[in-house]
């Protein structure tokens, strides 16, 4: 019986294939892009997003406005009503809602704003903290998160000119506590693009290619951590940072991050590298899908915008040797502008805000507000790539065709890493092409265990699964995944 089924499958498949290849499904079949019409004459360069009660969305802009979007979650983006709630703030890159207040992270501070008279306009602007300095350099951005589970807002402060820390706490991440205290937690930040949380509620931010930062990546804001750029060390002596002790050892330029991490205990390696040019070029906003399935099969995964490529990427994380690391996957492209903030709305759709002012983007609109909504159809995707002591486990969103998924030839792997250096960026270096020695498809056809001849510590392991087909004969919607293998797990 079993044999005949396989035979049948083999017999039927070529036909299904032919049909499928005529018109393969696209991203749009699974995640529809709804583009909002922005009020005429207005410029809404997306800087921050937050959900509000009643299905409303708040959008903070680079021009310093806060807009409220009502009726934004219907099938027709034309239903959306945009109303300006506040204006005159300084490059808003963070919004968080609590008890009727919107906490706005702007260049100079975190200010909470409120409409105390119920007139639809903010009339009260209260400084929560202004614990960092700004010197007038445009690069000294401040990105702010929504609230974490303890009521903190997490902040990342870009370096002066993106190279140096010339003002207090430039190049730091930290939190603003519920009583308004600024607590710097993490040094080494270079040029952040967004800050948010994983499903567990731990804080992460994206950082961008530059000095001491070979590729763009997702980094963890660990208390006492150091994430790469040492110019921020000068502020360890400040009263707010003293609790962290002495500054870490300055890393050696020109080495590798994992080599330095062994010498510098505080150095928390980049959790997920976004290989430059392959997975965007300017990592930006972060949010995690906590919708419980309303956004499709990627429950609890993280979504990250990219400004240059106008894309949304997908990220999975796991803890190995006590440190976060994981993989990234292409998810959705074709946004009309460079993506900066991303935010899951109450209905489980993903709102994204765009701007390409000052930094070009593939999407050629100067600004945009869009909504990605799941169509209800499950795409055939690599659900998650996880590290094993001797290879990887690859989960799929749908049952695979066990034959193609079980074939070594369906997979390809290459590895590389980046130079950890004071000068700008890095090419891919130390490239290897390990052999895939064995593949076993799980009994439920939902995953494949892959054995790799030689794993490389500190390398991106780029897996291509071009040959894998789903049970119904489709190729993967995106057949590639990039796992940042900082630490190799011990055998389970």
């Amino acid at each position: 019986m079993r044999r005949s089924l396989i035979l049948l499958a083999m017999f039927v498949m070529p036909t299904a294939f032919a049909a499928a290849q005529d018109k393969l499904p696209t991203e749009n079949d699974y995640y529809k892009l709804h583009i909002f019409t922005i009020p005429e004459g207005e410029v809404l360069e997306g800087g921050a997003l937050e959900t509000l009660p009643g299905g409303k969305i708040a959008l903070g802009t680079r021009r310093g406005d806060v807009w409220i979007i009502e009726k934004g979650l219907t099938d027709d983006p034309k239903d959306a009503v945009f109303t300006r709630f506040a204006h005159g703030m300084h490059e808003i890159l963070g919004l968080a809602h609590k008890d009727g207040w919107l906490y706005v992270t702007q260049r100079c501070d975190v200010t909470r704003i409120k409409d105390s008279k119920g007139k639809g306009k903010a009339d009260t602007f209260e400084v929560v903290t202004d614990g960092w300095e700004i010197n007038g350099d445009y690069h000294e951005y401040a990105f702010g998160s929504r609230f974490d589970k303890s009521g903190n807002i997490w902040i990342t402060l870009c370096l002066t000119g993106s190279f140096n820390s010339n003002s207090k706490f430039r190049g730091w991440g930290g939190k603003v506590t519920p009583d308004g205290k600024w607590v710097p937690t993490t040094s080494g930040v270079r040029s952040p693009g967004g800050v948010g949380f994983n499903a567990e509620g731990d804080a992460f931010y994206t950082d961008n290619q530059g000095p001491w930062n070979g590729p763009c990546g997702l980094k963890h804001l660990a208390v006492g951590g150091f994430v790469g750029h040492p110019d921020s060390f000068k502020w360890y002596k400040e009263p707010e940072a003293k609790y962290l002790g002495a500054a870490p050892l300055v890393p050696k330029s020109g080495g590798r991050m994992m080599v330095e991490a062994k010498k510098i205990p505080q150095l928390y390696p980049t959790c997920v590298i976004f290989p430059y040019g392959k997975m965007g070029q300017s990592a930006a906003g972060i949010d995690s899908d906590l919708s419980g399935g309303k956004f499709g099969p990627f429950d609890k995964q993280m979504f990250v915008g990219d400004q240059t490529h106008s894309t949304v990427m997908r990220v999975t994380l796991e803890k190995v040797q006590g440190k976060y690391q994981g993989a990234c996957y292409p998810f959705r492209q074709g946004h009309s502008c460079g993506i900066v903030p991303v935010c899951f709305a109450s209905d489980g759709s993903l709102i994204v805000g765009g701007t390409n002012r000052g930094w070009g983007s593939r999407g050629n609109k100067p600004f945009s507000v869009e909504r990605l909504a799941w169509t209800g159809k499950v795409p055939f995707e690599i659900h998650e790539m996880k590290a094993e002591a001797d290879g990887f486990t690859v989960n799929f969103t749908k049952p695979v065709d066990p034959k193609t998924a079980g074939e070594i030839a369906s997979y390809k792997m290459e590895t590389y890493t980046y130079i950890y250096q004071a000068s700008y960026g890095s090419p891919e270096v130390d490239k290897t092409k390990p052999d895939i020695t064995k593949v076993v498809v799980a009994a439920d056809n939902k995953s494949a265990r892959i054995w790799v001849s030689q794993l490389q510590e500190g390398h991106v392991h780029q897996l291509t699964a071009a040959g894998v087909r789903s049970g119904d004969g489709l190729p993967l919607l995106h057949n590639i995944a990039y796992y940042t293998l900082n630490y190799i797990p011990t055998a389970r």
């Binding site: 204006h87 300084h90 100079c108 903010a122 009339d123 602007f125």
Partner: protein, 921 residues
């Protein structure tokens, strides 16, 4: 006929004119016609008996006396003003008007300088002679036909009111008819009776062809002449009206367009092209326009409405564009499927406060996007635009009358003043040096065979004085210039050496594109020292050809033709040349010019913040194009002007980058003003070939507070990196420094230009867009002094225990800044208001604490000089601006660290205290 200029030669004859002394009633109650209008006489001699002879001298030129009374002694010849050349008069002027004008010039054109030659003739005799001369003049050509249009009329009206026509001819109403004449205006008479459209257009295009020697200067360029002609003759062609729609006007305060059906209009009438001029005020009002659109092709048409505040557009009573609500200028569009034929169009707009704007455009099959106004028709009947009627009556010159006319033209003295081909002067009256100063033209009543000028009594007195005491020839250049300026009415626009200038009544009609720029932007410049300022070649060019070098000024320099060039040499002689030190450069010329370019650019003196350059417009006030600077002005003057602009141009907004002859840029070239100015000059000397200065090319994003305040948090020059700019609709603005927790500066005019921060990555700090920036003292504003003579602290606010807490906004977005100084809470509400048109700031402090203390002070100002005024709590600061303090304890002026400080003791009442401070600067 030939023109002779007098020996002294310089005087250019002049614009006709007339005094508008109210016509005195004659004995019989009949109104005496207006005396000849001569602006120079009316302004400078009308009321000055002592200078009667001098005034008479001026009048003799204006009235051409010596064309008939040629003196025997040639040195007594006075420059005259040639009368209009009549070579082609019939192509311009209607024959009916010629007849009427010849019969009684003063009646046909009040204020004319043309005498009545038939004043006391028998009616039949007069009629025959007038007819003969009319036939002669009618033989000079045939009129052309021209098609008027409503759009031209509207544009012509705008031009007439703006470019300078009003300065000499007074204001005119919407129909193009005379409205208000000023004391020195030259009335235009009944233009509709006089001119054919093509004729008036031709005259306005090139007035010198008819009136030589700049008697009427040319001021209109290209199509403008045709538009102004259409406006002035508006209504003289049947079927053509500037009015192409009906309007209803309403008043009320609305947030959206009202239901007009339920309202009674305050006024109704006809309007042109959605012209908001029909509104009697610009706030709390609404206009509803109704007209018809003739669609030639079936199809979908788009309609675009830009308005401030709200508007709607209906076609055939169906709403097509909804742009309602209170908002700044905002564009909304809508489509409508229209069939061939006439459709009813209704556009309504309202305004709460602030700017009031309406622009309506449409596009569709075969019609590119264009203004809708000119396509609208008053009636649903397709309009039949008529061709201008040629006239009056066809007149075929009769040979016999023509011959008689020719004879009269010579014998009656017409040829003495007017040029007509082949006609010779044949009349010679008593020689000037034999005149007695009585009888003849000076008689009290018309006399047979004597020209009648209708002179006023003062004019007669002046002429008599001039005859009895012939003036010595004027030879001093400065006197010749002054006389010429009276003659040509240059003084109507320009002051020179404290003589002349725009008269009070006319003054409000001079306007600028930048209102807040004040007189400098709207009143033509003083000509004091013009000879030392302007290059001879350039001066010659603008006198002859006119200019519009000041784009912000609505009026322009008219062209007076070649004869005006005589003033060039005179000005050069009259005005002492500037001098300045010689400069030698260590660097090669290319480097010097590069330094010049750098200094003009954004990173240095930023001249281009206000000045255009090489035809590229600045986003600022559009100051004179710098690429014509070297062509325009003399180097020496430029040098000295840059060091001290206000010395040469009182009240100019031009800042000095070289205070007291030192430079603000120590690291350019040798760091000396003279060298730097020379380098700028050398760079500018390349004119339009000079490379554009750095920073000229970004488009502006001006933030304009209209109905509410605008908050602008960014890097503001002078207010730090945590600056909070606040722009108020009253056009006084401020920047609060939230880092140092103080009001950093206040200014007037434009608020902020966001282009620096809202384009590109937004590098750097931006200075206020406006001007008259008043920087307030650095340092904290409240402090507790242990002793009276304790120095005010110099530490940073945060080090002293200050905290910035944020701000509250009113419904119209006006802030109250909240900060604390240790246990003291301060609410600081700076607000703008207008007092007598001057934008001011009033700052109210509400101070509170749980633990009131005695020795808390507010430091209101630090200055070199603080002088209390007698009343009202006012202080004069540095002798340049004023400040008022309202507090419940008297402020203390003290000297500290070489400066003066005004300290206001804070006296708590319970836990609260209040201070008010006003800035008038």
């Amino acid at each position: 006929m030939t023109f002779r200029l007098s020996r002294s030669t310089f005087i250019i004859s002049l614009v006709a004119s007339l005094t508008i002394a109210a016509p005195p009633a004659l004995a019989g109650g009949e109104k005496k016609p207006m005396a000849p209008a001569v602006p120079g006489f009316a302004r400078f001699y009308q009321n000055d008996q002592a200078k009667a002879a001098e005034g008479g001298h001026l009048l003799m030129g204006a009235l051409n006396c010596m064309q008939c009374h040629l003196p025997k002694q040639p040195e007594l010849v006075i420059d005259f003003r040639p009368a209009p050349i009549l070579d082609t008069v019939a192509t311009r002027v209607k024959t009916s008007y010629l007849r009427e004008f010849l019969s009684d010039p003063q009646k046909a054109k009040p204020g004319t300088t043309m005498p009545n030659l038939f004043a006391s003739l028998e009616a039949d005799d007069k009629k025959a002679k007038v007819e003969a001369l009319t036939h002669l003049l009618a033989s000079t050509g045939l009129p052309q036909q021209m098609r008027p249009d409503g759009k031209g009329i509207v544009s012509g009206r705008d031009l007439y009111s703006k470019v300078g026509c009003v300065a000499c001819h007074g204001t005119r109403n919407a129909k193009g008819d005379q409205d208000k004449l000023f004391a020195t205006s030259v009335p235009l008479g009944n233009l509709k009776a006089k001119y054919h459209l093509a004729g008036l257009k031709a005259f306005l295009e090139n007035p010198h062809q008819t009136r030589p020697l700049g008697r009427m200067p040319g001021i209109l360029i290209g199509k403008e002449a045709s538009d102004v002609a259409k406006y002035l003759l508006h209504g003289s062609t049947p079927g053509v009206s500037a009015h192409n729609m009906k309007y209803s006007y309403y008043e009320g305060a609305w947030k959206n367009l009202p239901d007009f059906a339920k309202l009674k209009p305050i006024a109704t009438g006809e309007a042109s092209d959605f012209d908001l001029g029909a509104a009697r005020r610009t706030n709390n009002c609404a206009l509803r326009f109704e007209g018809y659109l003739d669609i030639e092709k079936d199809g979908t048409y788009s309609f675009h409405v830009t308005s401030d505040d709200g508007s709607r557009l209906w076609i055939d009573d169906k709403l097509v564009v909804n742009n309602d609500g209170v908002h700044p200028p905002q564009l909304k569009s809508g489509n409508s499927k229209l069939t061939k034929g006439v459709h009813k169009i209704v556009v309504a707009v309202f305004n709460g406060g602030g700017g009031f704007e309406l622009g309506v455009e449409f596009e569709g099959p075969g019609a590119g996007r264009q203004p809708l106004g000119p396509r609208i028709l008053l009636s649903s009947e397709p309009a039949k635009v008529g061709v201008e009627p040629i006239g009056d009556e066809p007149l075929t010159p009769n040979a016999q009358l023509l011959a008689k006319g020719k004879e009269l033209f010579g014998s009656m003295g017409c040829a003495n003043c007017h040029q007509l081909p082949n006609e010779k002067k044949s009349l010679n009256a008593t020689a000037f040096d034999a005149l007695k100063g009585e009888g003849g033209c000076l008689d009290a009543a018309p006399k047979k065979g004597i020209p009648w000028y209708g002179l006023s009594t003062t004019q007669q007195t002046a002429l008599r004085a001039a005859i009895q005491k012939p003036a010595a020839a004027i030879t001093e250049p400065k006197d010749v210039i002054a006389f010429t300026m009276k003659h040509q009415n240059c003084y109507g626009c320009h002051e020179r050496d404290k003589i002349g200038g725009v008269e009070i009544d006319v003054n409000p009609h001079f306007q600028a594109t930048f209102k807040e720029w004040g007189d400098e932007a709207r009143i033509p410049p003083s000509l004091t020292g013009a000879g030392a300022k302007l290059n001879a070649a350039y001066l010659k060019k603008i006198l002859e050809q006119g200019s519009h070098d000041r784009p912000y000024m609505h009026t322009r320099m008219p062209r007076f033709g070649a004869s005006a060039a005589i003033l060039v040499a005179l000005l050069d002689k009259a005005d002492a040349a500037e001098t300045n030190p010689k400069v030698a450069f260590a660097d090669p010329l290319t480097k010097v010019k590069a330094a010049g370019r750098h200094m003009v650019g954004k990173q240095a003196f930023n001249c281009i913040n206000c000045h255009n350059f090489g035809g590229v417009k600045t986003d600022g006030v559009q100051g004179i194009d710098m690429a014509i600077m070297a062509e325009r002005v003399k180097k020496e003057w430029f040098h000295n002007y840059l060091i001290n602009p206000t010395k040469y141009r009182a009240g100019t907004r031009m800042p000095s980058s070289f205070p007291d002859g030192t430079t603000l840029l120590k690291n350019v070239l040798d760091g000396k003003a003279d060298t730097q100015i020379e380098a700028i000059w050398l760079y500018l000397a390349d004119g339009k070939n000079a490379m554009l200065p750095v920073g000229l090319n970004k488009s502006s994003i001006p933030l304009i507070p209209i109905n509410e305040a605008i908050i602008y948090r960014n890097f503001i020059q002078g207010a730090g990196t945590r600056a909070i700019g606040v722009g108020f609709p009253e056009r006084a603005h401020l920047a609060f420094d939230a880092n140092d927790i103080r009001l950093a500066m206040i200014w007037q005019g434009g608020f902020m230009d966001a282009k620096r921060h809202w384009t590109g990555r937004g590098e750097g700090a931006e200075a206020p867009m406006g001007d008259n920036i008043l920087n307030l003292p650095a340092g904290v504003t409240f402090f507790v002094l242990a002793k009276d003579d304790e120095a005010w602290p110099t530490q940073k606010a945060k080090e002293l225990g200050y905290k910035f807490k944020g701000y509250r906004l009113t419904d119209d977005q006006r802030p109250t800044f909240l900060y604390s100084f240790n246990e003291i809470k301060i609410e600081d509400t700076p607000n703008a208001f207008e007092a007598k048109g001057n934008p001011m700031i009033r700052r109210t402090f509400a101070i509170s604490t749980d633990n009131p203390i005695d020795n808390l002070y507010y430091r209101a100002i630090v200055a070199n000089q603080i002088d209390p005024e007698a009343q009202g709590g006012w202080y004069r600061i540095n002798d340049t601006w004023r400040m008022r303090i309202e507090a419940n304890a008297p402020p203390v002026i003290r000297k500290s660290a070489g400066k003066m400080e005004l300290l206001v003791p804070i006296r708590f009442k319970g836990n609260d205290a209040k201070i008010v401070q006003e800035y008038q600067w």
